[in-house]
Symmetry: C2
Subunit: 602 residues, 2 copies
């Protein structure tokens, strides 16, 4: 794997940049700043080009903190693989010495993936300060709830001071406003000390438009494929080897230089590649080698809207080799049962049998005609292990893509929130909470941005209203560019100690404890699990031990009005947990978990 | 499978057309022609629309020969799934009663795929008449040479009177100038009587521009993907189910209504589909069902430029499930050894080791950096059975895409042609000859067309010169629109009886007889085969029986000047076949086949 970013060593720094179709390339070190002692103003250093299109130069005396950029065709641009953009996307790059950080997590190995409980965080709105540093004091409490993994929304350098993260123009640079590379390393180190793993959301389907100078360096973009968010990356055309190196190198970069535990790859269905060796094949092999070097696993989780089991199948079987993928269908099936008007946004969902199917098979749409898509959609995921799917009641997209920015807690009442929590945390998949969900945060989570260019701002408006229309949302949205919209989306962390918030928080702890400790829940096995539809709108999930001496019934009543009868011989069961006191039936919008212990089969 | 084309029955005819986004559709029967008795001029018949977007109407009294079309948004268009366009792409469609043809091939089953010898034919230039009918008298001679399969270049209705076939605008209509549906059926029936299978080249990556009214009916074209020849078909977007039905229905149409034995799918790497159930999965399943109905195999052969072994791997392993694919690398590796200036057109080829690799593994480029593509290309095909690859010394593209239209026989001398024939016909793959190659036809095979619209004609010129430049061809090409260019491309069938042509024809017969009858050649097995580079530019292919009592050496000397020493203990060998008398060495540009029989291993 070629190192794309400046590499500090004892005598100085080695710079490298890929521009296969350029004849010359200059390195410009900016004067007057620390680490830049050797640069003479106005004098660019010539770089040498190798056969693969990489220009490089070794500059003695340059140390971390030096500001630099490259001169292409007479123009100065920041480094496309910059590790730090202290002045944002338009400014010069800064040399980072990744070897200098003193990690304290050398023994960190993490726990098995099947035991993980994810917690999605947007750094800018998780704390009042909106920084990596400010997250650290909250880690202990997250760990105490039962969170095992924090998944950061993208931190690649974006334009402006606030952004969801999907407009990153520098894949290797950590957002300056969050605390840059040092801030992220300190956070990861602190997480590992708390026993918490850290995943990062990364975007390889397109590159944010503002401050994106990649096309000035090389053929990074495809002329064959487009995405809803801009030009697709060139993974299979001429010169695509270097583009693949950028992406695969970036995956390894987060593993090696930031000690991350895994990545979530955004919308992989918009990554196009028809080559015999797909980027997925190369990525899979590169990660396996990396894991051997590091002596620990490094996980890749996909967001994909194709409902294709090949996403999580191994490349040997024609799959993409992801460790897991987000299971949107589970959310849609559940949400439409919880919210009376949910069907308006998800017209292809609404039947209790769909949630039952999602519990037992994963994908709800496995070849059926889907109205939203005007075509048959998906293939069956039956038989795929439960740990290959991440499930959630909400994520950043679900409130953020509504005009009102409402979270689930602002849409349904406390009983439904409790039911939702149980349906999620007792599912045979890896659960993920969206920050604040554990205490029913009812602040909105809006889409917000701080674009700097008129064209992007205009495109934003059009894109948003098309999106709302497509999902059947009505009503006006606030202006994403307004800082107040961002400020209103911040968590109110103190709420967790009060009233219904505290009650919901306690329930999450109990549910996670049960999930962790109960022998029939911990393993995610679905081979000894049966899902039945009971009563008007109830689900009964039965699990049993191999020797049949232990049985567990998770009962969810999604009916708004009718009680759910308890199936079978419930009188001899022990109640383990319920949202309200339960006797002969499960009340509407409630859940209950029962256990039965018997003599083992001979 | 939905039937897209008019279906004749006892009482009349059922018309069906797909237009999912249209509210209404009219069927217009043209007056005054046979079979159209019931149509009243100026009165369109209303059609009923079903849930899947198909309009249909059953019209009593309409029989084969009726002319019709559909009225969409007030305009009259021919049927996109017309079986016959008697007046070409711009005229009305004609009802064909496919059930009326009296087939005589009911017992036809064909022979195993591994035993096939393909012969590619362009109907318009194969005979002076340029018709299906005129081909029939030549079949006996083709069978006598050892040809087992005729592969027709596309016959889908194209604009004008002469065309290679890749501009077809009506996937289901057989070119009127060749003799239409009846002509093709008669040819296939005659072939089967001669023991010859018939394959057809079909194009699903784009639709010819002239006379193409598909977009007027429905969302047939993708707004996401482009091809070098026009808009890609919509296999994964909204409404794509109907587009897939068009294509899959077309594959089955050729199998069922024309008794074809297989199809060659043009440039499948330009067919884009990111769905969970790819068109390949659906097509594979549909063909398997069709084979069960027909009681015989129906083969699909792909043209693909990706060098991806998944093309011929089963869908269960993530493959596309093709029975075979064209092996271009074999041609390139061989051609550059035969022609002193061949390297100018194939800069990534030229080493004898590449041909050796192609014999043993199939793809020459299996992950290497390829200059022509400016990237790494391909994956290894080692271990893929030999019958999964079709090999050739030339095909329609190779002369046709040169400015001078020269076939191999006009580029190299007789010894090289003999060597080429042996290298091809003794290869462990399915061989394919291009019509006339068997007797060294030296007429050119130009690209020719008869476009009717200025825009297409202008595009043609630009496309051609870009293509020449890309492959490093120099010199002016003749005007493809000039009828003489077409006429000059016709075979001179009589040549086969004279001089070097007769000599070459005899050699082809001998080689095919050897291939058919020799126990170490017939099976295409490569598990008991070794390829060695010998001398300056020689290849020795050794094959042996399981018990080691029979050995076969195929020796090819590609050197222009040096004799090739014979490896090992050649003195005890028997010469089976050679291009010139051979004793102690193989002269330059010659081949020889030796056999050795010994006592079997105990």
């Amino acid at each position: 794997m070629i190192m794309n970013y400046p590499e500090c060593h004892k005598q100085g720094c080695r710079f490298r940049v890929w521009a296969p179709e350029k004849e010359t390339m200059g390195l410009r070190l900016l004067p007057g700043l620390k680490g830049s002692a050797h640069s003479a103003p106005g004098r660019d250093l010539a770089m040498n080009k190798d056969d693969w299109g990489y220009f490089s130069v070794d500059v003695p005396g340059v140390t971390a903190g030096a500001r630099y950029g490259y001169v292409v065709d007479g123009n100065f641009y920041p480094d496309p693989c910059s590790s730090f953009q202290p002045e944002g996307v338009y400014g010069a790059s800064e040399v980072v010495d990744h070897g200098a950080f003193e990690w304290t997590d050398t023994d960190w190995r993490g726990r098995p993936f099947a035991e993980q409980v994810f917690y999605e965080v947007h750094v800018g709105t998780f704390t009042p300060e909106g920084s990596f540093e400010a997250m650290i004091p909250r880690l202990e409490e997250l760990a105490a709830i039962g969170i095992t993994t924090i998944e950061l929304m993208p931190v690649a350098q974006c334009p402006g001071r606030r952004n969801w993260g999907y407009d990153g123009a520098f894949l290797y640079a950590v957002q300056n406003g969050y605390g840059g590379p040092l801030g992220l390393k300190r956070l990861v180190d602190a997480c590992h000390r708390q026993g918490i793993a850290v995943f990062l959301d990364v975007v390889y389907n397109h590159i944010g438009g503002e401050g994106n100078y990649l096309a000035q360096f090389g053929p990074y973009f495809s002329d064959k494929y487009g995405t809803p968010w801009g030009r697709a990356m060139n993974f299979d055309g001429e010169w695509s080897d270097g583009v693949r190196d950028l992406v695969i190198g970036n995956v390894l970069f987060w593993a090696e230089q930031y000690h991350l535990d895994g990545l979530r790859l955004d919308a992989i269905h918009e990554m196009y590649d028809r080559n015999a060796v797909r980027i997925w094949d190369e990525l899979y092999a590169a990660v396996k080698h990396c894991e051997e070097r590091l002596g620990r696993r490094f996980y890749l989780v996909a967001e994909s809207d194709t409902n294709d089991p090949r996403t999580v199948r191994s490349p040997e079987l024609g799959g993409k080799g992801f460790d897991a993928q987000w299971l949107d269908d589970f959310h849609h099936a559940l949400y439409v049962l919880l919210h009376p008007e949910g069907w308006k946004n998800y017209q292809d969902f609404g039947a209790i049998g769909q949630l039952a199917k999602s519990y037992s098979e994963g994908f709800v749409h496995s070849g059926e005609y889907v109205w939203f898509r005007r075509r048959r959609h998906g293939a069956s995921a039956a038989g795929i292990p439960g740990e290959r799917f991440l499930v959630f009641n909400q994520n950043h997209d679900l409130p953020g893509n509504r005009p009102d920015g409402k979270r689930l807690s602002a849409l349904v009442a406390l009983p439904a929130l409790k039911l939702a929590a149980a349906a999620l945390l007792l599912a045979p998949y890896i659960p993920m909470l969206f920050m604040g969900e554990e205490y029913g945060e009812d602040a909105p989570f809006h889409f917000f941005s701080d674009y700097q260019e008129d064209q992007t701002i205009r495109g934003l408006e059009e894109g948003r209203s098309a999106q709302f229309g497509r999902f059947g949302f009505e009503g006006d949205a606030r202006d994403p560019q307004d800082e107040q919209v961002f400020l209103d989306s911040k968590l109110c962390w103190e709420k967790r100690r009060e009233g219904k918030h505290a009650e919901l928080l306690a329930l999450h702890k109990e549910l996670l404890k049960l999930r962790r400790e109960h022998p029939l829940l911990a393993g995610l096995a679905r081979d000894r699990m049966r899902v039945d539809i009971v009563g008007e709108n109830g689900l009964a999930i039965e699990r049993w031990s191999v020797r049949r001496d232990l049985q567990l019934y998770c009962l969810f009543n999604f009916s708004m009005y009718s009680p759910m009868p308890m199936p079978g011989k419930q009188r001899r069961w022990d109640l383990l947990l319920a949202s309200v006191p339960v006797k002969d039936c499960v009340p509407p919008q409630c859940f209950a978990v029962f256990e039965q212990r018997e003599a083992a089969l001979p």
